[in-house]
């Protein structure tokens, strides 16, 4: 299938995600200092450095997408700490479950992986949309991706839709009062600040769009 997304692209996605988070560490710290405890940047940076180490060791991450995701999930869970470790870990653990032994997936399968990942995060964090968490970026992205797949768009166009939805969701968190996570302790004082977790989740989608979407198109042509 021409639209298949390969294991190499998934590795590229994770690598880009790690790079992007590390480039934005100061922003994540500042966002978290405003409404949390200023550790989100450092925590994500610690986890992403380990992710990059794992990616450089092909034997450590397995020869299929499921093993790759499981390995990354355990790396995040054991190095990030805070809420972000278990939550991003839950995303990859759950997304891994249908792709064991697989080294390429269709766009439909990718959308299903994202849906599973989102469910994993929701189950672990018990957060719904509009609670000023990473769900506010992830859920609109997953819904946009599913809608784009149903419309028959190609990977690049579908993931760009997801990216725009994630961006809108991330920016929208500034208008929300937090009811989950550490920002919830601030009550109305949390309004006016963009959520750091939603920002990290946006980078996850942004790197996916770059590595799984546009790159897929580039390889085809």
């Amino acid at each position: 299938m021409s639209q298949d997304i390969t294991l190499a692209q998934f590795r590229r996605w994770l690598s880009l995600f790690a790079e992007q988070v590390q480039e934005q560490v100061d922003l994540l710290t500042e966002l978290d200092a405003a409404i949390g405890d200023a550790d989100h940047g450092a925590n994500m940076q610690r986890g992403m450095r380990k992710v990059q180490e794992r990616l450089q060791d092909p034997t450590a991450t397995g020869g299929d997408i499921g093993s790759l995701f499981r390995s990354i999930a355990m790396t995040l869970i054991s190095t990030v700490g805070g809420a972000a470790g278990p939550l991003f870990g839950a995303f990859f653990l759950r997304a891994a479950k249908d792709v064991d032994g697989t080294d390429a997936v269709s766009l439909e399968q990718l959308a299903a992986m994202f849906r599973s990942g989102l469910e994993g995060v929701q189950q672990r964090g018990k957060a719904q949309i509009e609670e000023k968490t990473m769900i506010d970026a992830l859920q609109p992205a997953v819904e946009a991706l599913e809608a784009a797949v149903a419309e028959g768009l190609d990977a690049a166009a579908a993931l760009d839709r997801a990216l725009e939805a994630a961006r809108r969701g991330m920016l929208h968190t500034a208008e929300l009062q937090a009811s989950k996570g550490r920002a919830s302790y601030l009550g109305p004082r949390s309004i006016g600040h963009q959520d750091p977790g939603a920002t990290s989740a946006f980078y996850l989608i942004q790197s996916a769009a770059a590595a799984l979407g546009r790159q897929a198109q580039a390889e085809e042509s």
Partner: protein, 328 residues
Amino acid sequence: MQKIINNPADAALESLQGFEFAFRRLLRVSYNPNFVWRRDAPVAGKVSIISGSGSGHEPLNIGYVGPGMLDAACPGAVFTSPTPDQYLAAIRAIYGGAGALFVVKNFGGGVLNTEVALELAREEGYNVASVLIHDDVSIDQSDNRRGMGAAILVEKIAGAAAEAGRPLDEVVTLAQRTSSQARSMAVALSSCTSPYVGHPTFNLPSDQMEVGVGIHGEPGRYRTALVSANQIVDILMEPIVRDLALQADERVLVLVSGLGGTPRQELFIVFRHIYDLLQQRSIIVERQLVGNYITSLDMAGCMVTLLRLDPELTSLWDAPVHTPALHW
């Protein structure tokens, strides 16, 4: 940033190493993953008590490891909950075969990481239970209240019950009872500076205070003018006494903890007025702790915790304890 550190990224680890050297006769420290455990663990047939928290709250939790209290404590990065692999390594090291109780402070990250740890421990065949600490009355909804000073009281009382040979279900019940009868509230006169961040988490003018802060340098529930010690105590005590519905002739334990940047001299001024207030209401201050027991790096300010006592909780509180921070 004025700090006695070598390198910001190494602050938590180097502090843990120094702690290990200082208390080497009492406990052991394992690294990668990091946890502190009592020297004589595992104690066969005894329920194990485990806790964890970010670094920067010292002596919480590593200072409460020892006979009569915690079997192990897992320190995370600064203000960051420890990760599940730390808890798992700790339980493997200290499990005495009679079950284990995790004391969990209600913070998003702490709860999530402990949930994963409990799942992994159960998969390995350990009999584990948990008790949630959520005593911060500055938050209205009780299920969203942060875990604060009550953690120390629950760890002491559960630790004493475990040391006395009580079975897991009884230790859990006692821990839950203690947790449900404790309330806390804290006030900050300054922010604090995480070595990772290098500047104060928030800016607080010298004539202002943050009421209803947690222990991670986050801003509080509201900001208001700095007032006298007695007025600060009134602000903290009113919701605590109301929420506990304390009646005349009831007995309480009072914990006054500095947040790291307030001298003990001021903490006793705080305790003095708490004692007066409770006496006026004919509430008996049966036990007290005044000092730095749960801190937030160099934050100036204090936390007040009240625990409603009954004879059983009092006798468990009085039972011998040998830890770096509590010793009698």
